[in-house]
């Protein structure tokens, strides 16, 4: 297991390097010019100077290596300094956004909480709801509960989040007026009233993402339970005289959770991608919205860094899923 983990970790390094190179070259091709918003009265030689100041004067490979150095050496140092109060990163160049002229990572750190709250909470809710539904649907296959559950999960899985979000806004903000349609990020919680407001503004985005994720997880949970319910060991457990509760909730559930846990782990990076759209619908200014605005402004360092962070998440959670599978299922041996 340890061998496998180490081998996979080493393998993920070239993968990530290659991905970052692909993103970098793509962005380098981009016709968008970060100087586009500079007034035309600025003479061309000054523009050239500004371009160099942004680090655009260097050839491609130097800029790529620079970015790698900044991302893997300077930024961790900054984080280290921030935590321990040291000064390793003194005077070193950080990754700077073209748009805001501030370090990309500090903007990411600013935007991260919003995304994590909305996305993370919805994922937790989705799992908590989907697992019991999946178990019960499979246990009472073809009952009205199962029929309803599979139908709802099919619907939740088919409705794109940008429509369910807009639909919720129409019903609950426009017609009923219960929830605000725009997420107010500057809102701080001071007392019960403001806490309640926070709950209200988070309700719709969280619900949209929860529905979508719960639909997928419950489908998997149901299928996996069904696979296990007909196995011989279940018959044996029943024949031993174990109560139905123990058979289903201990024996079957533990075995059916194996693939579901990996699916849940694999879904984590995807939800950041899905959150791009949901954040756009509810105007939550989290990471996804930042990415969209950076793409529009051809802010290459920002897009590069964010996309790379997404890629790291995907590779990391793939690895976690594989390791979990190996730990949970003794039939799987990687070595």
């Amino acid at each position: 297991m340890l061998h496998f983990t180490i081998r996979r970790l080493i393998l993920s390094v070239p993968t990530l390097l290659f991905i970052s190179l692909v993103i970098f070259l793509l962005l380098d091709l981009a016709p968008g010019d970060p100087m586009a918003s500079i007034p035309l009265t600025v003479p061309p030689e000054v523009k050239e100077k500004m371009r160099e100041a942004l680090g655009l004067g260097e050839p491609v490979h130097i800029r790529f290596l620079n970015w790698l150095y900044q991302f893997f050496v300077v930024e961790p140092q900054v984080a280290f300094d921030h935590i321990f109060g040291t000064d390793f990163s003194e005077g070193k160049q950080r990754i700077i956004s073209f748009q805001s002229r501030s370090p990309v990572m500090s903007v990411v750190a600013e935007r991260m909480p919003q995304t994590l709250w909305v996305v993370g909470l919805s994922y937790v809710f989705a799992t908590l709801i989907a697992v019991p539904i999946g178990i019960f649907s499979a246990y009472r296959q073809y009952s009205w509960f199962d029929q309803l559950g599979t139908f709802i999960s099919m619907v939740g899985f088919s409705i794109p989040t940008f429509f369910s979000g807009v639909l919720l806004i129409v019903v609950f903000s426009v017609i009923l007026g219960w929830f605000p349609s725009i997420y107010d990020t500057t809102h701080t919680i001071t007392d019960w009233g403001s806490f309640w407001f926070q709950v209200k503004q988070m309700a719709m985005p969280v619900f949209v993402l929860t529905l979508y994720n719960a639909a997928q997880v419950s489908r998997f949970m149901r299928a996996s339970m069904l696979d296990n319910l007909n196995q011989d060991y279940v018959r044996t457990a029943r024949a031993k005289g174990l109560s139905e509760r123990v058979v289903v909730l201990v024996h079957v559930l533990r075995n059916s959770m194996i693939p579901v846990v990996t699916v849940i782990a694999l879904g984590v990076p995807n939800i950041f991608g899905g959150a791009i759209i949901t954040e756009q619908v509810f105007q939550v200014n989290g990471l996804g919205q930042m990415l969209i605005s950076a793409i529009y402004a051809s802010d290459a360092p920002m897009v590069q860094t964010l996309t790379f962070i997404f890629a790291v998440l995907i590779v990391l959670f793939n690895l976690i899923a594989d390791i979990l599978y190996g730990i949970l299922d003794p039939r799987i041996r990687y070595d």
């Binding site: 991905i19 091709l29 940008f162 429509f163 807009v166 639909l167 426009v174 759209i277 793409i295 995907i314």
Partner: protein, 305 residues
Amino acid sequence: MTDTTTAAAIPSEKPRNQWWDVWDQFKTHKGAMAGLVFFVFIILAVYLGPLLWTIDPTHIDIRARNTGPSLAHPLGADQLGRDMLARMLQGGQVSISVGLTAMALSLVLGTFIGVLAGYWKGLDGLLMRFTDLFLALPLLPLLLVIIMLFRDPLRSVFGLETGIFILIVFVIGITSWMQAARIVRGDVLALKEREYVLAARSIGTSSGKIVVRHILPNIMSPIMVSATLGIANAIITESALSFLGLGFPPDYPTWGRLLFDAKDFIQQYPERVIWPGLAISLTVLAVNYIGDGLRDALDPRIRGR
């Protein structure tokens, strides 16, 4: 599940094509049948509908601006007075065409890579690493970047509409072939060890012929299931791109674009958001049900029960 073995009727008539069995099984899945009927209806509506409902979707009737449903405009008219029904039909035509073409592209690509990797051992490692690499790409951000990048050059080469159509189909196709490739590779790996492939090889059939004659027909079922998932995925991706404002241009309606345009008027005219959204959701739901039914019908463990 095989507790009661009903006496299987001994086939006395001439042997039937296995696809008839699949169809028989498919018919018993109510959701899948409903989905199929709806999907056929949508396809007929968007491709033949404009012949019956002849209002030009770009025609601006400024006096009908922002009106609700009426006889002249059954779904109302938008902020410029363009007929919503005509725009929905035309938008559906684009969305469905994107879905079908992108699905076809991703299937061809996925099957090609899957067969290569499964059949020729030398290529397997390389191609599968390549597939893993693609699976690790953050797709939505990359799609957005690629579209930003190539929108203008392609527009100048192929014209406004064709250029963006080609671009969107192409980017969706090249970012969604990985699942199909993996499934196909797994099936090919199992199939190529079978006796009939050995028999074919022993009478001197070339590898290419074996793949085309003996392997491809036998991996049709996973390919068909991926096809339905591919259509649903492509329609959603296209709508999502249009919804983020990076899909088709404003005067060229697709369902996603209509939803995006209507979003700004959501307070006053919420029904304009509902129509395209409902169309996308129902189409995707129908396609997903078809996929579910197909998966059941093509699974020999379930079929014939």
